[in-house]
Amino acid sequence: MNCNINPACDKSNKCFGCGKEFSKGLWGENPIFVQVLGMCPTLAVTTKAVFGLSMGMATTFVLFCSSLVISSMRKIIPPQVRIATFTVIIATFVTCADYILKANFYTISKALGPYVPLIVVNCIILGRQEAFSSKNSVLKSLADALGMGIGFSGVLILLGGIREFLGFGTIFQQEILGKWFEHWVIMALPAGAFITLGFLIGLFNLIRSRK
């Protein structure tokens, strides 16, 4: 039984289409490059690759858990209050993620600052719940959530890596370029974030149009 033909199919004990649901988030429907969502954390925290990785994992955690809860409850949530319900569920998991980060990874939590609670309004999460989790089975929603989350994290690590490499000469805190390299200070500043992401999106579109 192929889930791709009938996306609203519920009887998915063995879902061959789950792979497709997972992989679309990595490239074809990449949340940042294609859907142009979730810009705020992408630009704000990617001064270093490790911050991009942490934010990506925190967002994937929230996305995964909310998809799990919302797709399990999709039959009993009244449509009129669904956005409000989704938001409260997402906000609860964000609170969990924030406190877990504060307790276990305090330096990273301090560096990410107020952008962790801002995962609540990350359009990617609400968008996936509205478009997918509220209408599909738990297994497929989880595959979708994981795909989107990993696609998102990938872009964050890429952007963070570029900005860290050019702005500090390091990648994941490892010194790559020596003392001879004049740091591109702009990469650590907001302007560098905007411009780099703009060119990355252009590059992505170029690759896609060539395929």
């Binding site: 142009v36 705020c40 938001t87 609170t95 905007f194 999106i201 579109n205």
Partner: protein
């Protein structure tokens, strides 16, 4: 008094909420194609921001802190913001249908505008008192509107220009935003703190 003016100037110009703190970038890219749209969106957002700053400040200090519930901060703030946007939408639909039609889908999108939740979180983080919070809300709204209008003006001019195909849309807008951010950095000497 001077403190309030400084907060307003900082929020709107030297530490512009979009160009320095990356809050509100999604509508910044999405709604900045025409100047009238930008003005409408900016004013609606400023209104929601100011009222949200007031209401969340009151809730935080008189309910959450008093009853020892600071962990409910994110949940309660987002509920307040969502309700406010709903009220603003009903208000605009009743009293100005043309504006309602012009803003279309963007009104409910103000809820997910990081800028509003972001400014309430900053307000708590920086421990502003009541009047500082109001001014901060107004200043952030003004800064957001300013950035939106400038971007809309630039994009309207770009309509007849030859942009490389891969960069059309989000790509060129982000690059312009970067140059704008660079320009606004020039204001940073205005305020010494």
């Amino acid at each position: 008094m001077v403190n309030l003016v400084l907060i307003f100037l900082a929020a709107s110009i030297t530490h512009n909420i979009v160009l320095t703190y990356f809050l509100g970038v999604c509508p910044f890219i999405g709604v900045s194609k025409k100047i009238e749209q930008a003005v409408g969106m900016g004013l609606a957002t400023t209104f929601v921001m100011t009222v949200a700053a007031i209401v969340t400040w009151l809730i935080y200090h008189f309910i959450l802190i008093r009853f020892g519930l600071p962990f409910l901060q994110y949940v309660s703030f987002i509920i307040v913001i969502a309700s406010l946007v709903q009220i603003v939408e009903m208000f605009i639909r009743k009293f100005s249908p043309p504006l309602y039609r012009a803003l279309g889908i963007y009104l409910p999108l103000i809820t997910t505008n990081c800028a509003i939740l972001g400014l309430t979180l900053f307000m708590v983080l920086r421990d502003y008192d009541f009047f500082e919070s109001v001014v901060f809300g107004l200043g952030s709204g003004a800064g957001f509107t300013l950035a939106l209008i400038i971007m809309a003006g630039i994009r309207e001019e770009l309509e007849c220009c030859d942009i490389p195909k891969p960069l059309e849309g989000a790509g060129i807008t982000l690059i312009i935003a970067g140059i704008l951010a660079l320009t606004f950095m020039g204001f940073s000497g205005l305020i010494s703190n």
